[in-house]
């Protein structure tokens, strides 16, 4: 699977609550055909029960739920939040909101590994946050990972 192609990128200008942001990224996974709508509900439920632990680094969230029948195929999408979202984490506010779904526990290792390497680069993370168009966002991601 190609890492974050253009159809997997979205920029949101409006301000969002945590639940609205999770709905946005969940619906995105659903719209690209990778999850059933129930996956979005599962992500929101896990936020309510486990808290904002998926905010894994300053300004970066990796929203996901567990592998289940709600997942159609492994996928990763990215929502750039132009109005950063506060999830109640030490790493708030979040601008890079990733949405992950996997059919089985080890189904997305290669993609995660690439994203993990990409996000180590703090300059790139701030560059990504400043992108205004999908085109810019795509070029910014792929100049470093290809």
């Amino acid at each position: 699977m190609e890492l974050l192609e253009k159809s997997k990128l979205r920029i949101v200008e409006k301000s969002m609550t945590p639940v609205e942001a999770l709905s946005e990224v969940g619906n995105f996974l659903h719209e690209v055909g990778s999850t059933h709508a129930s996956y979005t509900e599962e992500m929101i439920d896990s936020f309510h029960t486990l808290g904002p632990y998926f905010v894994i680094a300053p300004s970066i969230a990796l929203a996901h739920s567990k592998p289940s029948s709600s997942v159609i195929q492994n996928d990763l999408v990215l929502v750039l939040c132009k109005q950063p979202v506060n999830f109640g984490s030490k790493n708030d506010p979040v601008t890079l909101l990733f949405g992950l779904c996997a059919k089985e526990a080890h189904g997305h290792m290669d993609v995660l590994m690439k994203v993990g390497e990409m996000l180590e680069d703090q300059d790139l993370v701030s560059e990504l946050s400043e992108c205004e168009t999908i085109e810019q966002l795509y070029n910014c991601i792929h100049q470093k990972t290809t």
Binding site: Y53, F54, I56, P58, L62, K66, L100, A105
Partner: protein, 96 residues
Amino acid sequence: MRELQIQAVCGFGVGSSMLLKMKLSSAFKKINVEANVFTSDVASATSTKSDAIFTSSELAETMQARAKCPVIVINSFVNVAEIDEKVKSFVESLEK
């Protein structure tokens, strides 16, 4: 030193913990310490035998009371310097 058993924990053991597992594995390798790093979910981590649990601050709070091994908080799962340093000081604490 024997091979250490290390848990990387997130809500379900499939997303952020996978990312953390990769960074932890390379941190142990860098200091030549043998470690079996595996992912767990927050519900089963404290009943699984291991030498240490690495996780986010939110999940650490829920595990701290029940864990039988050190629970080490990683603030940024993509900050290699932080992860390397916390792995190193954990290993040093074992050697004392």
